[in-house]
Symmetry: C2
Subunit: 236 residues, 2 copies
DNA sequence: AAGTGGTCTAGACCACGCG
DNA sequence: GCGTGGTCTAGACCACTTT
């Protein structure tokens, strides 16, 4: 019996071609009419699929021209350090300070793990992000080893873990929960960010839902906001 | 000469009825078929209007039942103190510490004002938010007097400035930009929140875009996150 | 003028919730 | 079984961009 929705099929087809670079960033998708012919469906259905791609941040429509493929960065864009991905003037660098390694779950994760996850070991790694050669963010990440293999940092696409997930594993971020606190810098944080112990630091605990069932990414970020505040904008 | 889109008309019609309480929170809208008959349009058009209302956070659809009217709090919900609007257990209270008054713009606003706004005087007021009888957030707000009349805090709907805008003025929040910093508490902040000077505080500067042209709301929040962290979740 | 996305019609059948 | 929203067809005309 038919269960698979047609618009879902188109959606997956186009999404996969974007993720694998067959519709490159900056190019235009085939026109809606072409997609209709190609899949023998009506425009309503094609447009429903494209609407979803817009919502997920893969494309934008330009009336009279076509549907343009975007660099997908929305998920990270929601809470970004001022200047991060802001291109102009800032030099951003990421250094892996602790290679992805298998270990036990850290007790400090402020989210409760699922039973599945508790049974599994986890992958942990740590990075420091620099802006203009100054360390600004210390970031810890965890995920369940059962849900995704261990990825060497050498294999990261453009130094980015999230780009790697998208382009090599076709895994997308579907949502996130965050918890923000203002705390004094502890010793390790102060050392990594080159600041005094006790300096006010923004602590962000985050849990990312992904498109891969069972895979949840946990993060623990310490941000020195004195020079580079965190920015966040959203529109309905 | 037809310029007005039909789905826009339905959208405005339903939205206004929600805002004015003619479709009360928790109730169900007329069915899509009924709306078709009522306005002599097709379901495609009705559904397009309802899709927009979903995006704006006014309703949710429940298959087999209908479209339910929501309490609209999404805009504030994007960055909320843990427990705020979380109902259970927490007692939330807001106290106006400085009545809305006409004055010059404060230089400390970290956003640049439009020329229109600079010419106008502004309305300023200050509130302290309590959770379980403890002061947790100190909030300053500004907006241009030319864009909206002075509203007495006595006239606030349920102590809420945003509810007042929505229900009395039919103005909705369309988006926001925020800037977050972790800072040591200054004297006035420390006094208002009952903490020591120098305690790490989360400082949030925010600019709200509204549905009323020319009206932008500016906010300046100081949050004591030691007991109640800020929460934020988003889904694509 | 040709091609693109934007809006809209007038139907149809299906999946789900409820009495 | 009935009413609800979810999916889909097969068209049409309009608004905008590009050639």
């Amino acid at each position: 019996m038919k269960k698979v929705k047609k618009y879902q099929q188109i959606l997956e087809y186009v999404k996969k071609r974007i993720q694998t670079g067959k519709y490159p960033v900056g190019s235009y998708l085939p026109s809606e009419h072409d997609l209709c012919d190609q899949f023998n469906i009506t425009r309503t259905t094609v447009r429903k699929a494209l609407d979803e791609l817009i919502k997920e941040g893969f494309i934008v429509k330009e009336q009279g021209r076509g549907s343009k493929v975007l660099e997908r960065q929305k998920s990270l864009g929601l809470l970004t350090v001022k200047g991060f991905s802001g291109a102009t003037g800032y030099k951003v660098k990421t250094v892996v300070t602790k290679e992805p390694a298998i270990q036990e779950w850290d007790a400090s994760i402020p989210f409760s793990l699922t039973e599945e996850e508790k049974k599994s070991k986890c992958i942990y790694f740590q990075r420091v992000r620099y802006i203009d050669a100054k360390p600004v963010v210390l970031e810890n990440n965890w995920y369940a080893l059962d849900a995704l293999e261990q990825i060497e940092s050498k294999a990261f696409v453009k130094d980015s873990f999230f780009k790697t997930l998208s382009q090599k594993y076709l895994i997308e971020i579907m949502g996130a929960e965050q918890e923000l606190k203002s705390i004094p810098a502890a010793k390790e944080v102060a050392k990594n960010l080159g600041i005094k112990i006790g300096t006010p630091i923004l602590h962000i605990s985050v849990r990312f839902q992904t498109s891969k069932p069972g895979l949840v990414l946990y993060g623990d970020l310490y941000c020195n906001t004195t020079e580079y505040p965190i920015r966040n904008s959203y529109f309905l």
